[in-house]
Assembly symmetry: C2
Homo-oligomer: 326 residues x 2
């Protein structure tokens, strides 16, 4: 009896502590708008003991797009900035690039010409900057670059241009038993070296576009070589494919910001049981950027119409976030 | 002061409880041999607080082959048995199979002829039985089959022919903070419907061979169609590729039983820090099967030589396991 009484005291104090914690707002950078309320109400529906729509922790899968959803994507995708800088860094070893496109345009900083290039030229840049090396070598290159590379106009490190409200949302979902995944059109090997530090998402929860890999033996040791051939384009219809390959379960929540995320949101919403889809709408030209239907980068058009038609949550950065960057 | 004293009492009692638990053998089906001691000593090295070789939980990745490592693979791989039975189940819809190989041989139970068929015929069987349907449809088919299908000679359900010592090992590693993965030459979509129930390994920790997937819209709803083209053969040199794709971290422990696992073991052992590789050697013709260098299924030859040369742990089922099946 005596022991039980002691355990009781400790238990009651522990409960009191957790109640205090629960009263702290886990999403302080979100204004008290319908978007925030929808986010919180859904967590309550699927996690509150006794809820008729309780979802077991193993099935609490939440997927997040990266570019434009977790960090800024204007004026051009960070990974493209990385690729262009790598071309410049490698140019001394490739004198032929002075006359070969698209390398000549990159070396001349001719962004107008770059914009006219198509998939074939993009693949040449990817092959030159993302392939022909081992996964370990590429990881080191990315890690060194991201530690110092700065946004061209904001002047901050790219990893400082992540959205504070979304960092809070990731942490809030994890605290409620969700497993958080990134599902990016960007490269899986480009995200993994820093996503755990910046987003708290470990390498095995990163899904992204990828090149084929090949095991080789170098100096008697096995290495994985990145080949210049595409394995998966994890964008649009490729996102559900990437999700099925890596997770094998359908997410119950998905977060995106552009037409590239539409199929992920549709795939998520078409499953049985409670479902939640959210789009970040970039509406704040002062604190960030304002763009949607006409944008070259992160175009939000068809997915926006679908969100409105289906009652998905659409976040307006200007109205729903009181802080944008940390 | 009073509260602290109470917390102290509870803490001391909790410690006493965990010491009692620790004294229960987590691997009772393993005899007290060098294999078992090597397994336990490695866990101690990488998890004991203060150990100079302590590995953070996030990096405690352990990968297990499936066929012949976690369940029986004789006289033929379970997935092949599934494929052959599916051919028979689908034959009424395919009258042309009566004269087309390899289907005619399968329908005639001509196993000798089947053994002479090569990769091309295998792909035809896979295309007929594993493709042309959605991932959800395939998952249901596998789930129904595995719930009732029995081993041809042992008479038990296939899921009863899992190795009890390996189930204990999976649980023991998880209890020590390891994340356990299956890395199988078999199909990822064939394993996922039952691996969580049988092995405690969730879908997102299954790595396996796969066909290409394609998102389609059927009756206005998105589905993932399994195409008759190979995405990844997760065997031999494909295992490190599958591991890198899905995990993005190198395992620190790997468990296999055949030459198909050699590259996974080499990839695991070539990383920095403490490493552990283990091969299951099938030495018990009475309780299971005895086979190695000359076997058609689960051939263990080059990997065995490598294990001996490098001091990897080689488990002899006859000597190291006091129980084989649950």
């Amino acid at each position: 009896m005596r022991l039980l009484a002691h355990v009781g005291v400790v238990f009651v104090l522990a409960m009191a502590g957790s109640t205090l914690l629960a009263q702290q707002d886990p999403l302080p950078s979100w204004n008290d708008t319908t978007s925030k309320r929808a986010i919180v109400e859904f967590v309550d529906r699927v996690t509150r003991p006794g809820s008729p729509e309780l979802v077991p922790p193993a099935e609490r899968i939440a997927t997040f797009d990266n570019d434009g959803t977790l960090w800024a994507e204007q004026p051009l995708y960070v990974q493209l900035a990385f690729a262009l800088e790598r071309v410049k860094a490698l140019a001394a070893r490739h004198p032929e690039w002075r006359t070969e496109q698209p390398f000549a345009a990159i070396l001349a900083n001719d962004l107008a010409q770059l914009r006219d290039f198509g998939e074939q030229e993009l693949m040449r840049v990817l092959a030159a900057t993302h392939a022909g090396m081992t996964t370990d070598e590429f990881s080191v290159t990315v890690g060194e670059w991201i530690a110092t590379a700065r946004h061209p106009t904001a002047g901050k490190l790219y990893t400082e241009l992540v959205y504070q409200p979304m960092l809070e949302l990731l942490a809030y979902l994890r605290a409620n038993g969700f497993k958080t995944y990134i599902v990016s059109g960007g490269g899986i090997e480009f995200l993994r070296p820093w996503a755990e530090r910046v987003y708290g998402v470990p390498p095995e929860q990163i899904i992204g576009s990828s090149l084929e890999l090949k095991l080789e033996v170098r100096d008697g040791r096995p290495v994985l070589l990145k080949l210049p051939t595409v394995d998966l384009i994890d964008d649009k219809a490729g996102k559900p494919v990437g999700i099925e390959r890596a997770i094998g379960r359908r997410p119950i929540r998905a977060f995106g910001n552009s037409d590239g995320d539409l199929e992920m949101l549709q795939w998520t919403m078409d499953g049985a049981g409670p479902r939640f889809a959210l789009l970040v709408h970039h509406t704040d030209a002062e604190r960030e950027w304002a763009y949607d239907r006409e944008s070259h980068v992160g175009k939000l058009d068809v997915a926006w119409d679908q969100a409105i038609a289906n009652g998905w949550t659409v976040v307006s950065i200007k109205d729903d976030w009181n802080v944008v960057f940390p």
